[in-house]
């Protein structure tokens, strides 16, 4: 997913160079986190506001990605879930059903 996006980007930029009227928005990305055998991988990610995190749950168990006192994404068995990052900051998250699963997201402005 990321590799494909990166490959497309130079072509995109070249096209846009001639047309000064079009503003180039900071391209939002999707950052993938895999859940396999009760662990988030990678456990820590960096992103910027507007990016999306996609958790791909490979376990046959229901998990969540839950920021204490904040957002929660429910991740059914063998399914994935997404969250758009709205604000900058540094967030610890856990699985509410398996609190020994721990992850971290750093969101740049």
């Amino acid at each position: 997913m990321n590799a494909a996006t990166n490959a497309v980007r130079p072509a995109f930029l070249a096209l846009l160079l001639g047309t000064a009227a079009i503003a180039v928005p900071a391209q939002a990305e999707t950052i993938e986190v895999t859940i396999d055998r009760l662990a988030y991988a990678p456990a820590a990610i960096e992103a910027k506001v507007g990016d999306e995190v996609e958790w791909i749950n490979k376990d046959a168990l229901v998990h969540t990605a839950t920021v204490t006192g904040g957002a929660e994404v429910l991740l059914p068995a063998k399914k994935s879930g997404r969250l758009r990052l709205q604000e900058p900051g540094s967030f610890d998250y856990i699985c509410r059903y398996h609190p020994n699963m721990k992850g971290h997201i750093t969101v740049r402005p």
């Binding site: 055998r37 009760l38 376990d59 046959a60 168990l61 229901v62 059903y97 609190p99 020994n100 699963m101």
Partner: protein, 174 residues
């Protein structure tokens, strides 16, 4: 009351402990599958009792997690057993586990409210500790089939999480 419960828990620990030791002769894969499955069923039944009895949100949610997770693992175990064409084999350890669980269940049935919650959660801590110990020292090392071993290893990780979760709730109930 507290003393009596603690004594009972200790007695069960001894009972199960003794039988795990007996089985240490070397459980076969069909026996291991049966033990792991039985251990899951016991926790599901305990959780259903808690869901029906408890009024505490954290306890009920924990119990719902136990049903969901152990049913999922047991389904994976059954699928594996079918795929490997193995018939789970009843054995002394499975029987001892079931017997101890039945005793525990009737003990818990006499309790209500905070007394029930406390006893249920404490037993969940003790039970997962015991099952995890057995997985670590006996069942995983004895498993011959690689897929069975891998399922048990995932189970161990999952049940260690359950133990931590139960320990966390236990401190909140105090």
């Amino acid at each position: 009351m507290t003393i009596r419960l603690t004594t009972a828990a200790a007695a069960i620990a001894l009972l199960i402990g003794g039988n795990w030791a007996l089985a240490a002769d070397k459980p076969t894969d069909p026996q291991i599958a049966h033990i792991a499955y039985t251990a899951g069923v016991i926790d599901i039944e305990a959780a259903k009792q808690a869901i029906a009895t408890s009024k505490n949100k954290a306890v009920v949610e924990f119990a719902e997690s136990m049903v969901r997770d152990h049913e999922s693992v047991n389904k994976q175990a059954l699928d594996l057993v079918k795929k490997l064409n193995v018939t789970p084999e009843d054995n002394g350890t499975s029987k001892a586990l079931s017997q101890a669980a039945e005793t525990k269940r009737s003990e818990l049935a006499k309790l209500t409210g905070a007394d029930f919650d406390k006893a249920y959660v404490e037993n969940e801590v003790a039970y997962h500790k015991q099952v995890n110990g057995a997985l670590e020292t006996l069942l995983i090392p004895s498993a011959q089939n690689a897929e069975l071993k891998s399922l048990l290893e995932t189970g161990l990780k999952l049940f260690q999480g359950h133990q931590q979760h139960a320990e966390h709730i236990a401190t909140e109930l105090k």
